[in-house]
Symmetry: C2
Subunit: 224 residues, 2 copies
């Protein structure tokens, strides 16, 4: 059965994740609240692989984070990675699923408009330090097209809407969002990827103090 399924696909030798034995049932569709597709005995292994993958991608980037090193860190055999995630690309796609957990745009409008920049910058820094996913995505995005596309998607789906709510003319929300992203990503690059000593040493509050007015202006200034 497992073999027959495997053999039924080589007619379409595409680079997509190969969706091996169990996966089709794992995410048939994403409902809204705790659908719990089905608990499997291998869930622990899956999670371990994902955690190891994030760590390696964040530390080494896409090419140097080998499936072998990821498997080693997860304490299992490399072939398991292939079974559960189909391919290296598929593994990265799964590892780079990110929720920025940004405050809802409505909540932002509640507070005084001139605090939006500050709370956004502060939230970004927290989110960045929360786990290694964003560092992984940034590192991979610099050299891997799939990574770059994912970043673009996040910009559009998660930062864009916020800009649309707080900027004067919703029509140029994308531009505002891109400006905000340029400053936030730039600081993340300096602090978490390139690790400029000065940028690393700056306490979080000081970073916020400096960046907040910038982001605020990018979002709400009528014009440059």
């Amino acid at each position: 059965m497992q073999d027959s399924e495997t053999r039924s696909t080589p007619a379409t030798p595409e680079a997509k994740p190969r969706r091996s034995d169990a996966t089709p049932e794992v995410k048939p569709r994403r409902s809204d609240s705790t659908p719990e597709p089905k608990p499997r005995r291998s869930d622990a292994t899956r999670a371990a692989i994902l955690a190891a993958a994030r760590e390696r991608f964040a530390a080494d980037g896409y090419e140097r984070a080998t499936i072998r090193s990821i498997a080693k860190e997860a304490g299992i055999d490399p072939s398991m990675v292939m079974r559960y995630y189909g391919s290296k690309e598929g593994l990265f796609a799964a590892a780079a699923e990110i929720d920025l957990n940004l405050p809802a745009p409505m909540d932002l409008r509640m507070q005084p408009t001139d605090h939006v920049g500050r709370s956004l910058v502060s939230h970004f820094l927290d989110r960045w330090e929360q786990d290694e996913v964003l560092t992984a995505l940034l590192r991979v995005g610099a050299t891997n097209p799939a990574g770059a596309e994912r970043m673009q998607q996040i910009l559009k789906e998660q930062i864009g809407p916020i800009a649309a709510q707080v900027c004067p003319d919703p029509a140029d929300a994308p531009r505002r969002a891109a400006l905000v992203a340029s400053q936030v990503l730039g600081m993340a690059l300096a602090r978490f990827v390139l690790r400029f000593p000065v940028a690393v040493a700056m306490p979080k509050e000081e970073v916020v103090d400096w960046l907040a007015p910038t982001v605020q202006r990018y979002l709400t200034a009528p014009e440059p």
Copy 2:
């Protein structure tokens, strides 16, 4: 002779460039004006390799820019790359030698202080589009320690001094320089590496209009 030199080194199996036959004479020391160490018949080949390397590093990053692909683009044999640059690391080091060509700090003090940000941002964007070296460095720096160190060195040696000249207290020039770098690198990341469509589409003058006040503030504001 060549063999004896090669065999004299394996006692120190370090990862440094191996400095093969000709290179020791090529750059004995860097004088100031046109020392012209010595014209060689292979100078054209060397230059072709360097140009190809910059192109590949900029497009693919460190790992995916293989010596074979670089050699192919330069129209020569892969082994030539090794002979002239010792190793892949050595080649990158040579390809990532960068002069930002920033205006001398003195010249900046001449013009009205509130124009420093604008002229700096404008100059950066021009320099970035002048060739592919900066894109290469940014892409490589995201995954390669040597690349990250080189960026750090540029920040210190080329941006630091400028900040020291125009900021209120020279003592925190490094912090100012890092802030400026975070914004400039972030925009470069969005425009030239991740290629966010909105960031790419923005005309240069508009980018300058938005970033100039930011950089200006990072450099000259008494405090955040």
